[in-house]
């Protein structure tokens, strides 16, 4: 495999000057498009989650013609809707010493120094405008009695900077962005195209000029041309089969762009969230997250000994009957200064350790999250006011009352920090193709802090791309292209042939069989901890599984009507390729950082980074059927000192 150090193809376009002035300077120097010229341009926005809806609405307000696409039946159902805990901003309303610098610092440190300083600083800088924007839209954030906005603390931070709307922050923010989007639909500036799945990218003269989508109701292939394509299609956690992602979340749009020349950044960086409801059986279709905010009051523990844990598992001993001395509050014990609020990667890994030691509860793959003490100290009413809806959700799924019995939790795949490589303007290596939100790699390094995903999605959509897109169009001046261009014929034909090929297999195994097998491989070998041997095994086995898929998958029905299992098969075909790239990426990175934990590189169970050799972004280039090439973007830290993360 070819490796290109300091790749000339990765031009980050980070502006010169001091960190705190980069974004303002950049905004002052980039080109503008006049209102008269904006209306001559069409922008294709794929995905309508926080990033997509906010970008589509903002661009339409500015005068662009926008076509927005989503796979769901309505833009309002994108998976951002499921985010629970909150959104960070450096408002410092609680007067606890927060500011833009601290939010920047916490985010870059939380990401284990594997993100760009300039991008992260910009994110922190625009965070306050996001809150103002959302409040102006009528997002019903939690408030104090005096009528001001309420804040709470979140994992990985020592200040209270998280704004929230009960346990449904993502829903309320998305409905805010969706309402702005629907307003533009009403005004005729956005054409909304739901139940459409992007199957490929069309390039003309090397630039992104259109997309091929499948109409999921009729099965028809449709073509759309534009002057730029914004990919806002979320993350790819479903490559693990079981994850907290919505069932339809997938990598297809991003993967197709990768195969058309967009480099994929840090594909292995996956966030495993510590507080999810454990797996109950083979029929399990997805995992449910319990907001991290629960760790503000819940205490994480397992029995001190294997013997006690065994008694609990066999039902002979009730957790409430385990004496205080026999409980191991392992996060509080190991990390006294952050306690239960250590970042997600640390909390998850430690839960895995105690379960590996045989001290897990439930099926053996679970730890307790106990509210007994919080209820004693604050009263059940206070706890209910904070977490009532989460407790109810837990009881619905698990059939146990968390007010009386400690919750059981286990880590689950939740978010992917990796994504398409983008420059400071959020443009990929394909001119005119942008990636926003979880679909890009840019801001969270190797680990994302809680309440930062919503912040990033909205920052990209409301406050970054509306500026940077104009610069591209004003500079590039794309010529008119319509869907009769031969490139559209060619790419559409390829997409159709792919579908026909899949349908013609008529094998024995269902798509779900393959997805589950892929997920097991990913979880076992490319999951919470990785090693060389395991990663090599994964590469071999995923490749074999992919081969089997193309010989033996069974897809029901036909392509010319609503066929969910065909949609599913197309997505799994891409996941089967992505999984292998993730393993390759993890193999190359011979260090531990954030969510990427290589067993060979650790000190006493803590991740051991290697800044001298690995302070770079991995950007993978697809080489038409001949493997891939690794480009490295060196990360320069001029403002923060790289320290070993310590939450002790």
């Amino acid at each position: 495999m070819e490796i290109i150090e300091n790749s000339p193809k990765l031009v980050s376009k980070i502006p010169d000057g001091p960190l705190t002035e980069k974004w303002s300077k950049h905004k002052n120097s980039i080109k503008l498009l006049s209102p008269a010229n904006k209306k001559k341009h069409t922008v294709l926005v794929v995905g309508t989650g926080l990033a997509g809806a906010s970008a589509a609405a903002s661009l339409a307000e500015m005068g662009y013609n926008v076509k927005a696409f989503c796979i769901q039946d309505s833009a309002r159902r994108a998976h951002s809707i499921a985010a629970q805990g909150g959104i960070n901003a450096a408002k410092n309303y609680p007067n606890d010493g927060d500011n833009v610098w601290r939010l920047f610092y916490d985010t870059i440190k939380g990401g284990d120094y594997r993100a760009r300083e300039a991008n992260v600083y910009r994110l922190a800088e625009v965070s306050n405008s996001i809150i103002d924007q959302c409040v102006a839209q009528g997002v019903p954030f939690a408030r104090e009695y005096g009528g001001t906005l309420a804040n709470r603390s979140f994992g990985g931070a020592q200040v209270s900077r998280t704004f929230y709307a009960r346990g449904q922050t993502g829903q309320q923010l998305l409905l805010g962005a969706y309402s702005a989007l629907m307003r533009q639909v009403h005004l005729g500036k956005v054409e909304m195209l739901p139940r459409r799945e992007m199957l490929d990218l069309v390039k003309v003269d090397g630039k992104a000029r259109g997309i091929i989508v499948r109409n999921l109701v009729t099965g028809d292939m449709e073509r759309y041309a534009g002057d730029a394509v914004l990919l806002c299609t979320g993350g790819y956690g479903n490559v693990y089969y079981l994850s907290t992602n919505a069932k339809n979340s997938n990598v297809t749009a991003a993967w197709r762009c990768y195969k058309r020349g967009a480099f994929f950044g840090n594909p292995n960086y996956t966030q495993i969230h510590p507080t999810c409801i454990p797996v109950s059986g083979i029929y399990q279709s997805k995992l449910t997250l319990m907001s991290e905010s629960l760790r503000n009051d819940g205490r994480v523990w397992v029995p001190k000994t294997k013997e006690l844990a065994e008694q609990v598992r066999s039902g002979k001993l009730h957790p409430n009957d385990i004496k205080e001395d026999d409980r191991d509050y392992f996060l509080e014990r190991k990390y006294p200064s952050f306690g239960n609020l250590v970042p997600r990667d640390v909390a998850s890994r430690n839960a895995k350790y105690v379960c590996d030691e045989g001290r897990g509860v439930g099926s053996g793959l679970a730890v307790y999250l106990d509210f007994r003490d919080a209820i004693k100290e604050q009263g059940a009413d206070t706890i209910s006011a904070k977490y009532g809806n989460l407790f109810e959700m837990y009881e619905k799924i698990q059939g146990e009352d968390p007010y009386k019995v400690p919750m059981m939790i286990f880590p689950a795949v939740h978010y992917t920090m990796g994504g398409l490589w983008v420059d400071y303007n959020l443009m990929t290596t394909v001119p005119g193709l942008y990636a926003l939100g979880e679909a890009n790699f840019s801001d969270h390094g190797a680990n994302r802090l809680g309440a930062s995903a919503l912040m990033q999605g909205l920052a990209d959509g409301y406050f970054v791309v509306p500026y940077t897109l104009g610069d591209y169009l004003a500079t590039d001046k794309p010529e008119k292209v319509d869907t009769s261009h031969p490139e559209f014929d060619k790419i559409e034909k390829e997409a159709t042939e792919r579908i026909d090929k899949l349908l013609a297999i008529k094998g024995k195994k269902t798509v779900l069989d393959f997805h589950r097998e892929l997920g097991n491989l990913m979880w076992d070998y490319v999951g919470m901890s990785r090693n060389k041997e395991g990663l090599e095994t994964a590469i071999e086995k995923i490749s074999a599984l992919r081969e089997e898929f193309w010989k033996d998958v069974n897809i029901p029905g036909d392509a010319n009507y609503y066929n969910k299992y065909l949609e599913y098969a197309l997505r799994i075909a891409d996941f089967l390729e992505l999984g292998e790239l993730m393993a390759r990426d993890a193999l190359v990175r011979e260090e531990s950082c954030g969510g990427h934990f290589r067993e060979e590189y650790q000190v006493d169970g803590e991740a051991k980074r290697n800044d001298a050799d690995f302070a770079f972004v991995s950007a993978w280039e697809y080489l038409n059927g001949e493997g891939e090439r690794l480009h490295k973007e060196e990360l320069k830290f001029e403002n923060v000192e790289l320290t070993q993360r310590s939450y002790k």
Partner: protein, 250 residues
């Protein structure tokens, strides 16, 4: 955890397309389990059907956490099934007994035309939202968020209405197929927030008119909508909507 097997008999509405005839088809799942969600039971059945070479049952679903509002089915005649305040995706088989027969049908309303099996088209809801379900502000240039103080109880009331997931259960349960609860929830959210006041009158008229145009019926106070709403949105929203409407047109 008990892992005892349950047998569940299903009668599921199968219809190939909007212009094809539909009918209830019997299926039996012998190896269901009380910890399965209702949608996982359908997944399980679909796997078995495909292995027999039959076409699977189509249904909309996505988050499976009760928040995206994708899933929509009548279970034993009730929108989202028997458990209060619960979307079908969070309904678990422990709500049923071994040997039960369960009837599964799509939402039925003129404004929600059927696509296939249990999948319907709910674009009419988006059209109602587009007519006025927003505060008309562009991105950028706002005053500090704390410059708009909102009393905590007002914010909480607004939130109660804002919790709507747009699933359409209210329409499916209503004998008139009215979308009043859906429409009223959005109107009431903004009526309780100062940000919503500038367009208060315009909004209620536009959204109510659109609701009628889409072919939804009128509200005649049955209250079925409130009973089936997975987010337990109160029917007082509809009273608020009427008050707002009268104030707007008088």
């Amino acid at each position: 955890m008990s892992t005892e097997k349950m047998t569940i008999h299903l009668k599921v509405w199968r219809q190939k397309g909007p212009n094809e005839p539909g009918k209830l088809v019997d299926y039996t799942v012998n190896d269901a389990n009380e910890h399965m969600s209702f949608l996982e039971l359908l997944d399980w059945l679909n796997e078995a059907l495909m292995k027999k070479g039959e076409e699977p049952i189509e249904f909309d679903h996505d988050c499976r956490e009760g928040i995206c509002g994708s899933c929509n089915m009548m279970i034993n005649g009730m929108a989202h099934g028997p458990q209060r305040g619960t979307a079908a995706c969070q309904l678990h088989m422990r709500q049923f007994k071994d040997g039960d027969t369960v009837v599964v049908e799509p939402w039925r309303a003129t404004a929600f035309p059927l696509i296939k099996d249990l999948v319907v088209d709910r674009a009419a809801f988006d059209n109602i939202m587009a007519a006025g379900g927003y505060v008309s502000v562009n991105t950028g240039g706002y005053v500090d968020a704390n410059a708009i103080p909102i009393p905590k109880d007002e914010a909480e009331t607004a939130f109660d209405y804002a919790a709507c997931i747009g699933c359409g259960a209210c329409v499916a349960a209503c004998p008139n197929s009215s979308a009043s609860l859906f429409t009223a929830a959005k109107i009431s959210q903004y009526a309780h927030l100062p940000q919503g006041h500038a367009e208060r009158k315009k909004r209620v008229v536009a959204m109510v008119d659109q609701m009628e145009k889409e072919g939804f019926g009128d509200c005649s106070n049955h209250g079925e909508c409130e009973a089936v709403c997975p987010k337990e949105i109160s029917i007082t929203a509809i009273a608020e909507m009427r008050r707002e409407y009268i104030k707007a047109v008088l």
